[in-house]
Symmetry: C2
Subunit: 347 residues, 2 copies
């Protein structure tokens, strides 16, 4: 009801959400008036505003993001669309979050239900479901399809399609892969295998390209038999790694397209009784936090994930602000030498 006997205590609020109607009723005004007070519009008597504010505090009312976003254009919320909260995504999130703090936007990281039938195109779906209503703009992590003609500004981080019409942040995959392979070559390896990433991703191609480039530079002939698909996942790497490590004249080193598949390779190597790096050198890519604590600690290529996230928000905010933003930002990737690489065994 409108009067509570114990104003200092939490009042008996209506069951469920407190709506603007509840507030209006309790304050004895119309919902329009409450809305004006909440949004600081002019045309409300000070006394009325005062009373409404009290009721709001009393009832613990907060305007519903959903309802207001449906009515308003803006929400001051930016979405980060991702396929799941994996180490790659969470590192990016850290950078995004740190950069976004205090800029007046709220962050909403959204992971649609991933199942087999929406495994591809999740980003379009998520964007359609949220864009234009819930979020003012979006940062999409590793989109696999083109994002042309979206209803809100979009920044793609490490996208499959080159630029795909949207603004892009990525790191220099070719150079990174080249550095990784060169490191192995400089250690003395000649038979260097490569576990590919998801072949539908641009980054996977670029990493393979860097691998080949480095081989060519060292005059090592490319052997297609030493290249397998690992899909950027530890589990999918198991089989190809086993094939690679049990073949005659097996490779002495593996450049895996990302850290997760590098872990997969190391696991298989251990299963087969090999020691890393003594019997097999392994280089990853990404430098997720787990890479530093793995056993052995993983030599890998560090993508500046947090910096990439930070750049992405900066660009998005600029866009939302009606300003220009760079179309493509490419940050350098660098080799981090740890304990999973060493000179090849003397066979």
């Amino acid at each position: 009801m409108s009067t509570d006997a114990h104003p200092s205590r939490l009042p008996a609020r209506p069951v469920g959400r407190v709506t603007i109607t509840d507030v209006a009723r309790a304050a004895g005004v119309s919902v329009a008036t409450v809305s004006k007070v909440v949004n600081g519009r002019y045309g409300v008597a000070t006394a009325t505003a005062q009373r409404v504010l009290e009721v709001i505090a009393d009832l613990g009312y907060e305007t519903s993001l959903v309802a207001s976003s449906l009515r308003r254009g803006r929400t001051d919320v930016v979405g980060i669309l991702l396929a799941g909260f994996d180490p790659f995504a969470t590192e990016l999130l850290k950078g995004i979050s740190a950069e976004a703090v205090g800029k007046g936007y709220e962050l909403l990281a959204y992971s649609g239900a991933i199942s087999d039938d929406n495994a591809v195109g999740w980003e379009r779906r998520s964007l359609s479901r949220l864009g234009g209503t819930l979020i003012d703009g979006a940062i999409i992590l590793t989109p696999t399809v083109s994002l042309a003609g979206t209803s809100v500004p979009v920044i793609s981080v490490d996208p499959h399609t080159g630029s795909g019409g949207s603004h892009v942040v990525d790191s220099d995959n070719v150079e990174g892969a080249r550095a990784a392979t060169r490191h192995l070559i400089e250690l003395g390896h000649r038979r260097i295998a490569h576990i590919r990433g998801r072949t539908d991703l641009e980054s996977a191609h670029r990493r393979e390209q860097g691998y080949r480039l480095s081989l060519a530079e060292a005059g090592i002939p490319f052997d297609p038999d030493l290249v397998r698909d690992g899909g950027y996942r530890a589990a999918w790497t198991t089989e190809p790694a086993r094939e690679l490590l049990t073949m005659p004249d097996r490779p002495t080193a593996v450049f895996a397209a990302n850290d997760l598949s590098a872990f997969g390779v190391i696991e298989v190597a251990h299963e087969l009784g090999m020691r890393v790096p003594h019997d097999l050198s392994v280089v990853g890519f990404d430098d997720i936090p787990e890479a530093a604590s793995a056993s052995p600690r993983l030599t890998t290529i560090a993508q500046p994930l947090q910096a990439m996230g930070a750049r992405a928000v900066t660009m998005l905010f600029a866009l939302l602000d009606g300003q220009e933003a760079e179309t493509h930002v490419r940050l350098p990737a660098r080799l981090v030498v740890r304990k999973s690489t060493s000179p090849p065994p003397v066979l």
Copy 2:
């Protein structure tokens, strides 16, 4: 795209979100029919459904989460409410995400705009803004206020208030802190300082309690001068750490209430020309991924963050499913000895 001067994009552009009305018009049916098709309701002629489906595919229509959630009760989306995407939160997210996959729910991690005036009570605000409309239930990370009487099921992870009426997942902070302090004592330290966590958080009290307990067990008198507030943040730790390390008869070891403040302590120690662990031993708490790669690698208490996240979702799904769920799940924390602790220097 030439008129950026006008921020108002009110006019209905032909290019923008595709709504159910667009689909209905294009298919020559009513919006109700489209809705039925989209939601697989009975009572639509096969031919009509076919045509509508085609138009939907053509236009790339997806139902708006916002609009449908406003109308429907359920959204099949669970919210993870957090103050920011810090290492603690992202580890939990990994566990949550891994456990939630394939369960038919979508995940929405929400970080409200953090500013000074809403620094406290953000969780209530976020919950009010999203609950009852956008999300079916919520997992709240480190809530600092009581969450009684919410409109949706809530699981609190590592909350300030004991149980606060809601379901809780946390780790054994007392035992963890006790193990940390005991480790230092066993190494031979006697003057062991403690950097407190945020004193408004339950976990901070429990960690101090474990510290005192361990001291008492070893017969070491408690010295209030050796306890300072660090607020769980590296920056806030700088001053108290400096005081501690420059005092006469300085401590030879510090048990910091979390890894972030342990880093703060180490930084100050380095500034003062001390080597860790040679001149000063430091133990943290949490075992965020950064702890393993820090220099020196940090001895700390590992909270099973991912497992905690996984348990939280499991409990929430049970609740949403109308089942019972444990009221309080407490997971064990364990000591991880790395390189930031050693016997005290011989003074």
